[in-house]
Amino acid sequence: MLLNLTSDQEFFRDTTAKFLNEHAAPTEIRRLRDEPDGFVAEYWQRGAELGWTSLLVDEVHGGGSISGSGLLDLALVADEFGRHAAPGPLVPTNIVAGAISELSPDRHARVLSELLAGTSVASWCHLEPRPHDGLDDLVLDVRVDGSDLVLNGTKRPVESAGRASHLLVTGRTGGGFTQVLVAADTTGITVRPMHTIDITRRFSEVTFRDVRVPADAVLGEVAGADAQVERQFQQALVMANAETVGAMEFALGMTLEWAFDRYSFGRPLASYQELKHRFADMKTWLEAGHAISDLAAEAVSAGSGEAGELVSAAKAFLGQYGPELLQDCVQMHGGIGLTFEHDIHLFLRRVALDRSLHGTPAQHRQRIASIAMDVGKAA
């Protein structure tokens, strides 16, 4: 992707990069640790004006892509988010906006337009707490009760739930998944803030106790949302992967510069062979990360049959080598790399966060193995 951008994509990307350089500088990010939502409203609205929230939304509903593939354009934004460890609920807002646009743009036109304008944000309530923290192990119950649906269960971690006007809840109705869009202030919903390793992202545990919603809150079919949930999951993975690659790239560049500038025993660090070889490894992980992340993004964008395997491979690879690359960057910096005033931990946090969300490397390796076993069985 990075190798073949159109000039429109380049321009789009540069616009976001410039904006983030100005409004998401490291000092600002450090300041935001005390901000309840982790970002300020105006920042997000201006990002929305740049197109951050509209790429998975059809043109007819107020969205639109740059290249024809909104997901690939969105990956460019996510990559820039990684390069800046930028604030803002990029993943949940886009997932929810994309789902509404695809499944019920008219019924939820007001919600969609607010998401597009950046005046409100939405959360996706997807994975669940232990012991149901497997990728497919969703047990939140969505029961049909006359013309209503009743939700019971717990979701975590839910990004930006404390700030969201609406929640997209993925639950189970018998053997299939059901997705419901519900206002965050509906009776029976409890949002409990969690701790996190990131500085600007916020997560909550969201509990649904007999939450009653009308049937038209359903996005798609009752018990028929499995393919849609998988698609949303793959989209989230594409964004998380692109963000990780962006953060790796920026951190490696910054550390390389440090190695040239920094002298030890009268020589620049960059002249020590053992460090040089570690930089060679890091460069290799980075390029490999770009490669698998881009390939997976294209597959997901194209809806290819290999998308699930590729995007899990990318997540597993980046979730393992991303944090290792960042930790080695910390090591190269020595003690100051562990201080709050230094910038490197902003990227370490973001990469470690993305590794933990949407399934860990270990969970994705299990998923890849299952796919390989199925393919192997068929062969």
């Binding site: 070889h277 390029e287 490999a288 881009d294 193995a369």
Partner: protein, 420 residues
Amino acid sequence: MSADATEGLDAFRLRARSWIRDNLKPVAAGASAGVLRNNSTDDEELAQIAHERELQRLLFDAGFAGLCFPVAYGGQGLTPAHQQAFNEELTGHEFPVRLQAPTISPCAAVILDFGTEEQKLAHLPAILRGDELWMQFLSEPGGGSDVAGAQTSAIRDGDEWVLNGSKVWTTGAWWSDWGLCLARTNWDVPKHRGLSVFMLPIHQTGIEVSRIEMLNGTKEFCQEFMTDVRVPDTDRIGEVDDGWTVGIRWMFHERMLHNSPYVTIPAGDAHAGIGASSVLRVARESGKLDNPWVRDLVGEARMLQLTSEALQQRLTEGMRSGAMSDQSAAIGRLLSGVVSTRTNTIAYEIAGGDSGAWTDDDGAITDCGSDFLMRQVSTIGGGTTEMARNVISERVLGMPRERTLDRDVPFRDVPRGGQS
């Protein structure tokens, strides 16, 4: 490279597909599993080579050999995209694997880059027809990663050169025809400035080919002892004493290997040896697929393979478009070495105790232990991963070069330690 000038890609692909199905036998997955295993007798191997020469001739006659070589030299003058399409269609079929590396790349590629018109006409069509099998006379005993430190000597004698010295790690020199040889023509200048490159027939008086037994019993590699071998000056490639210019390009072609537009190799088959599918077979035949620890390893192997393939693809595109320097090939070489040793180790781990001792009934588990013993071949052969890391740090990232004590002194004065 425009699609107009050549056969359209889609039409070419269909033609290739139908020809391949009609002419090449299918091969079973896993047929080439393992690490340089010693699976056949010498007679069987010679028969295979004869068969591969025929396959290459078949390709040549059908217009599928040397897709990216100019038509003037027996090639087809097509684009790398055509080669890629052909490789994709080739998956699952027999093909002349021994004709690819090192014959077509790096040897034929180097001749194409540096040969005179006469040299190209003399050898490239012969190679593409399957008539000439080439080997690299590059590494030397005691030379290690420092190929520019070659000590094989070439002394001018009229219109000829007289070569003396020894070369090693020539794959299958015992059944090959020609050698591309790096030799020292000047000992009084620094090492990179006193080399020249020659072409020579392998089976001639003065060259003794000795087979090396690897620890697993394979005798694929050879060592050659050259005594007063006479080479006409017309068989010199590139300028006298400027052989390193040839050498740099030579090694670039070597590192490119599976990304090379010259090489015919079934797509997805880049990782010979132990791949993710071997790992899956070992796990299944061990009856351990219900163990999450084993599934974790199976998933890791598959993740690494997909990532390594994606990287090769990215590098190929990047180098082709000029977005990346040619030195970036070292990144692919490093990852493929690391992935290969890790995948080998994963199979070994899953095989468990059976990798120490096994019976012929053990299916995919058989030889997992022997393969592990040979593991490092993936990080040594074709340039060590240490050299790749040097190249990446110094040439790709621009970090300071390692201090060498052989750069600015006449080659004869370079410190050589115990073995010189």
